[in-house]
């Protein structure tokens, strides 16, 4: 048997072994959600205080320079969530007034769907993206 044939056999055996990897996995739990969610939650934390009882927020799809506003709101709690489509990048700006100064706090990230693979299904959780928009 030539060296090339031995090599091909080894590669084939390795590929066959890889294709059976699901048999090593456990079965999906009873509360598995096999449907990939199309919406998730952007959870925003702000510096709510007596000096800042309400904080205006703007959520952009993509970087904020692109100007695609998906949510414009004013929040009066320290942490709140906004439901938006998944698998997209979001930028959020919170506006604070400190004396005569205005401080725009910017943060961003990608809201991704993460699934856990089991032998018989892929289970999805609720996608969340946590963004810290507190004044430093």
């Amino acid at each position: 048997m030539s060296l090339q044939r031995v090599g091909l056999l080894l590669v084939g055996a390795a590929l066959a072994a890889c294709s059976d990897v699901n048999e090593d996995l456990p079965y999906a739990p009873a509360n598995c959600n096999p449907v990939k969610p199309s919406f998730g939650t952007v959870i925003v934390t702000v510096s709510k205080s007596a000096a800042h009882p309400t904080i205006p927020l703007t959520i952009y799809r993509g970087n904020y320079e692109e100007g695609i506003v998906v949510v414009r709101d004013t929040v009066d709690v320290a942490q709140t969530g906004f439901e938006v489509p998944v698998d997209k990048y979001y930028a959020v700006i919170a506006r604070y007034t400190v004396g005569l100064d205005t401080i725009l706090v910017l943060n961003g990230g990608r809201l991704e769907v993460n699934g856990e693979t089991y032998r018989d299904a892929t289970c999805y959780g609720l996608p969340t993206l946590e963004l810290d928009l507190r004044l430093r």
Partner: protein, 199 residues
């Protein structure tokens, strides 16, 4: 703007000094406790290769870091090349003026890859003192914007003390040191501490 972002209480400075002095104080007792069998069985001095995983921090910022040093020269007094990688994956807030009375607070991730040299002195198999210097490239990213923070080549200089925790080949070390590097953060003075393995 009249806001105090970086107050440095005295107690925090004392904590940083304590972190740096800990390996020295830890090293004195094991040196005294070294048995004659131990000193005969193992050649004193440093080992050729050493990898360190450590944290570098100051009053308001921090990095995870990985370093590799190759010791040349004699075993007691050593010198050799050093490579260093530092990463801050998580966000660090920076304030940028946009105009009169208007500021943008951004969240910055940053990385630093550097090469240089380290020279030092090994005391028995228990302790090492060294100085290090080099130059590296730093770059980063801002979250939520296409804009990027300042990047470029920056030098570093510092020193560290290490004490052997256990093992002879490989040897495990606890280390603490000082590093000066200007990564466009609020401070250029850093303290580092971590675990190293030499073989």
């Amino acid at each position: 703007m009249n806001r105090c972002f970086f107050a440095v209480p005295i107690r925090r400075s004392a904590l940083l000094a304590g972190v740096m002095l800990a390996p020295i104080s830890l090293g004195i007792l094991p040196l005294a406790a070294q048995t004659p069998e131990e000193s005969r069985a193992f050649v004193p001095g440093t080992l050729a290769n050493r990898v360190d995983g450590f944290v570098i921090f100051n009053e308001d910022d921090g990095f995870l870091a990985l370093g590799y040093r190759r010791a040349l020269g004699t075993k007691q007094i050593f010198f050799g090349p050093l490579v260093l990688a530092m990463a801050r994956f998580w966000g660090h807030s920076v304030l940028e003026p946009l105009g009169p009375h208007l500021y943008l607070q951004e969240t910055e991730s940053r990385f630093y890859f550097a090469a240089g040299g380290e020279a030092g002195l090994a005391l028995g198999t228990r302790m090492e003192f060294s100085a290090r210097t080099g130059i590296g490239y730093s770059f980063g990213d801002f979250a939520g914007t296409a804009g990027t923070p300042q990047d470029g080549w920056v030098p570093f200089v510092g020193g560290r003390a290490s004490v052997r925790l256990f093992g002879h080949r490989p040897r495990w070390f606890l280390s603490a040191g000082y590093l000066w590097v200007d990564l466009w953060s609020d401070h250029s003075n850093w303290v580092d501490t971590g675990i190293g393995i030499a073989w």
